[in-house]
């Protein structure tokens, strides 16, 4: 009996052993078979996948922490073909809720061309998607209750972030925009695209939960804090828009800068576009330089350029504020007769009244007295003909012909003195004049105040672009310009605040000749004169209400400054000086 059991046990042991051996043999055979590589590939295929992690694009704030550019959640609506039960139901649902064409979607779902995930619509906002999500939820609940598969099974919504601009068109010219592929165009978005976008990381993501710790941490893009003050920007844009209506100008630019630090507080231009609808770009702009004319549009500045000519002459010691000049109404420079803006003669003048009356003849005389070498050396020091280095994409350098250039003629020395025959950008003009408002030191204009990365905020320090004139010259010229405004009772004056500035009326060159019927008008001014807190440049293209800057640009300057002093908490001079003396 016992032997019989022993035999049975042995037989069972042999059978189990043989099975085990077969299993082991089969394992070894599979591992070493010709199909082993295929199996390994399949295993690797399902073991994980390569994914590219795009970090959240860095946000952009104004100087007071108001969000100018953020990110909003959008969805990719698609169908997981392997889980799809009812193509017709899905096609009906998406056509009813997302406006897709049923006759296009339905055939695509029936013939997905080997795709496992078929994208039906991309960049769907949460609000657009809500009805479809609700429908899917209700249908799923009903199907679950009826113990049948949901007809909308397989319909998936994959969330992602896309750029969004809460202020829409505000400061659009300097912010720029980001396209669907995440690339920044124009302004800050283009200039700092690499910082904002962060570094996309492509990694192998294992499905094995034991390797969950291997999932990468992708830090977001750098957040930027701009020097722009949202409220000042809004006020400037509002004033500019109204000025275009009042003056009939085609376009305009206003830049407001802190002359001591170079921080741009506002940069308003026209036209502006809603950055959330960047695809309408071509409806607003024909050329790229039109996006932000403040840095990309070059033009003849006209009489505001006289500030630089006079600054050079004062700095050389060639003239002083009371140096007399007898204006005969014309001067010959390079065998060309130069006349005043009114073709009149103004008789006995001095350098202050030359600026006050904006006499071309006087300034042409000043430049010829300086000589071409000195005059152009000063213009070079003021940065004319070079980019300012502002941290915005698309800045152009303008053009200043030099005596050694082929297209320079001796008359250019005279005409350049009052802003003809030279091309500048508004930001270039502003940067040059900052030397006069800032004790002779010219600052580099900048938009970026600080950047935030890895939990730390890095402040950007002001940069001095040069010292083209002495502090004494700057003070003298400031007083001259303030006096000239007061003497002529300029429309640029602001009650309670002493400001200095200069108008500019420039005819527009067309095919080598100046159009007698159109002008560009401008005004550059700063204040308070004894301690400048703002430097404002106003430029209007082709006003129709009046061709003169003192009737168009000067009042606009005054209007902006009246808003500015309130927004920046700058008290009237008598209060400020009273406080300082306490």
């Amino acid at each position: 009996m016992r032997r019989e059991y022993g035999w049975r046990s042995s037989a069972l042991a042999i059978v189990f052993g043989f099975c085990a051996f077969l299993i082991l043999g089969q394992m070894v055979r599979i591992q070493t078979s010709a199909e082993a590589d295929i199996f390994r590939e399949q295993a690797e295929l399902f073991a994980g996948n390569w994914r590219t992690y795009y970090p959240e694009r860095g946000r952009i704030y104004d100087r007071n922490g108001h969000l100018l550019a953020g990110n909003e959640q959008v969805y990719t609506v698609g169908v997981n073909i392997t889980e799809m039960n009812d193509a017709q139901a899905i096609a009906l649902a998406v056509s009813a809720n997302l406006g897709l064409d049923f006759n296009i979607v339905y055939p695509q779902l029936l013939n997905p061309d080997g795709l496992t995930f078929l994208t039906l619509k991309d960049f769907v906002t949460g609000d657009e998607l809500a009805p479809l999500q609700e429908m899917q939820r209700q249908v799923s609940a009903q199907s679950l209750a009826g113990n049948r598969p949901s007809p909308l099974a397989g319909l998936e919504f994959q969330p992602r972030l896309q750029r969004s601009y809460p202020e829409h068109a505000l400061a659009s010219n300097l912010i720029g925009f980001v396209n669907r592929e995440g690339r920044g165009y124009f302004g800050v978005e283009e200039k700092y695209n690499n910082l904002l976008a962060g570094n996309p990381v492509r990694v192998w993501v294992p499905e094995d939960p034991n390797r969950a710790a291997e999932l990468p941490h992708v830090p977001g893009g750098t957040t930027l804090v701009l020097t722009i003050d949202r409220d000042v920007q809004s006020a400037a844009e509002e004033s500019l828009d109204q000025a275009l209506i009042d003056t009939g100008a085609q376009n305009g630019t206003i830049i407001i800068m802190d002359p001591a630090s170079g921080e741009i507080l506002a940069m308003a231009t026209t036209p502006r576009m809603d950055l959330n609808q960047f695809w309408n770009y071509s409806a607003y702009f024909n050329n790229a330089y039109e996006f932000n004319p403040a840095i990309s549009m070059q033009y003849e500045p006209g009489s505001v350029f006289k500030i630089l000519t006079m600054a050079g002459a004062l700095d050389m010691g060639l003239v002083q504020d009371r140096t007399p000049f007898f204006d005969t109404g014309s001067i010959i420079v390079g065998e060309v007769n130069i006349q005043n803006w009114d073709r009149g003669s103004w008789g006995a003048q001095d350098m202050t009244t030359c600026l006050q009356h904006s006499l071309n003849v006087c300034l042409a005389w000043v430049s010829t007295q300086m000589g071409a070498d000195h005059f152009y050396d000063y213009m070079r020091r003021f940065g004319i003909g070079h980019t300012t280095g502002i941290d915005l994409a698309g800045e152009v350098a303008g053009r200043l012909k030099m005596p050694r250039d082929d297209d320079w003629y001796p008359v250019d020395l005279g005409t350049n003195a009052f802003g003809q025959g030279v091309a500048v950008t508004p930001i270039q003009m502003l940067a040059a004049v900052s030397a006069v408002a800032n004790d002779g030191r010219m600052v580099t204009p900048r938009i970026l105040n600080s950047m935030v990365r890895d939990g730390r905020q890095f402040n950007i320090l002001p940069s001095i672009a040069g010292t083209p004139i002495s502090a004494q010259t700057a003070h003298t010229l400031s007083q001259m310009l303030a006096t000239s405004l007061e003497s002529e009772a300029s429309m640029a004056l602001i009650p309670g605040y002493r400001v200095a500035g200069k108008t500019g009326t420039a005819q527009i060159p067309v095919n080598g000749y100046y159009d007698p019927n159109q002008t560009n008008v401008s005004f550059v001014g700063w204040g308070p004169v004894d301690d400048p807190k703002f430097l404002v440049y106003v430029w209007l293209e082709g006003p129709t209400s009046s061709p003169w800057a003192n009737e168009t640009a000067a009042p606009l300057f005054a209007e902006i400054v009246q808003k500015l002093v309130i927004l920046l908490n700058i008290p009237p001079d008598f209060i400020r000086l009273q406080t300082a003396s306490q």
Partner: protein, 162 residues
């Protein structure tokens, strides 16, 4: 005498030899013990692996949740900024009867010591908190724990200063 001893050896051997069934049971017992030990190790391994897998899956879910919350957070911040945008705030202010102040309507008060910050600080200047890490109980091995224990000074004297 010697012959008597020699003839007794098989008898002694037979007397001290274990019964065949007893030997067989010992082998079976040893085998079952080995199987039991293997089963315990396998069960333990399976348990630990299952726990690790569950935890790993939870980590993956949490990471997905974090990503989702970050997206929602970004979305809500943008929506909030849209609600507080200049145009919205201005229209709301007008609706409530406010209007922009004129220059002559403003009274300036001098506040000694007031300093207007030049720009917003999005990040606190205070030192960042130390990054939270897993306690050693979750990462150190038994050997590490024992080595640390040996390396530590006596608890009673550690904090005593003369």
């Amino acid at each position: 005498m010697i012959n008597a001893n020699v003839t007794n050896i098989p008898r002694f051997a037979h007397a001290y030899q274990q019964a065949p069934w007893r030997v067989q049971r010992q082998w079976v017992g040893a085998f079952l013990l080995a199987v039991l030990a293997l089963a315990m190790v396998a069960a333990l391994y399976l348990d630990v692996t299952a726990r690790a897998a569950i935890t790993g899956r939870e980590i993956q879910d949490l990471q997905l949740q974090i990503a989702s919350i970050q997206r929602t957070n970004a979305d809500l911040q943008t929506r909030l900024a849209t609600s507080l945008s200049t145009s919205n705030m201005a229209s709301r202010a007008f609706t409530l009867g406010f209007r922009p102040a004129e220059a002559g309507e403003i009274h300036y008060l001098i506040v000694p010591g007031f300093y207007r910050p030049s720009a917003v600080m999005l990040v606190s200047s205070a030192p960042q908190s130390v990054t939270q890490t897993l306690p050693p109980e979750y990462s150190e091995s038994l050997f590490d724990w024992f080595a640390d224990l040996l390396g530590q000074p006596a608890t009673g004297l550690a904090g005593v200063t003369p």
